[in-house]
Subunit: 131 residues, 2 copies
DNA sequence: GTAATGTGAAACTAAATGGTTTCATATTTT
DNA sequence: AAAATATGAAACCATTTAGTTTCACATTAC
């Protein structure tokens, strides 16, 4: 029931740099197409098509206001990406754990916060410093 | 310097479902191409090309062993994805914060019970600001 | 009412993508 | 040495993608 059965999925939607820029832009505020396309070196129509792809993936919401259509970010579908990533977090954390085991005592490992995200480098540095 | 100057970037690499499946598969163990391609309904050559894209993005590492080339996951470049996502986490967390403010007191929120990601400090700061 | 504005749809194009089959090459195996 | 195996490179093809220009249609402004 995690939706995302549309014609475009999130992974595909964010594959394009222009679309990623669009998402950032629309995260700040709702904007009509003409204003949006002012931020890009391509035609308004091209931007419009990118917006359509994003809308298909559920990543933007459109609202008609008079003769203009305003778009804004809808971040929810990014959860799918997050979940996907989470699986791999496991792996790069295991690498870290292995490294820690090489460098530190059990104590250090016991301190492993179990926090899936966060800055790995910092975490590692913390451990080292902790010695 | 943080890599990702190759011909294929991470976002593009993970856009394809086959490649995502490849990453999962290669996360478990190192495998030679023929074995890998046994898991997919396409030709060995096609799989090989997907592997090339992944390698370009730095997401798999290849190692020659005798006449075979073994591939395995290299999760590091996914950090770029994680960082990109993190920006948007902010937004869906703010939505949560707004909801919390409707339902809960500041004290309760300070416990940040089910914070989706690790960015608790920011979240708390936002809440404080809102107070 | 007429002109101007904001937008999407359509038709088109060039390039990228995902796949195929065939071929060459290096390494084992016998 | 010859046969078998593992693989990548090349050439090719169909489809998708990212962009264009042109057109039609609402809505607002004059």
């Amino acid at each position: 029931m995690t939706s995302s059965s549309a014609k475009h999925d999130v992974f595909q939607a964010i594959a394009d740099p222009t679309r990623r820029k669009l998402l950032k832009l629309l995260s700040k505020e709702e904007m009509p197409v003409t204003v949006i396309s002012g931020h890009f070196p391509m035609s308004r129509t091209a931007v419009s098509k990118h917006l359509r792809v994003l809308a298909d993936a559920g990543l933007v919401k459109e609202r008609k206001v008079g003769r203009e259509t305003r778009y804004k970010l809808e971040p929810d579908p990014l959860v799918e990406l997050k979940d996907w990533l989470q699986y791999f977090e496991l792996f790069w954390e295991n690498k870290l754990v292995a490294l820690k085991l090489l460098v530190e005592s059990d104590e250090a490992v016991a301190e492993h916060p179990g926090a899936p995200f966060g800055r790995d480098k910092l975490e590692l540095k913390n451990i080292k410093d902790h010695k």
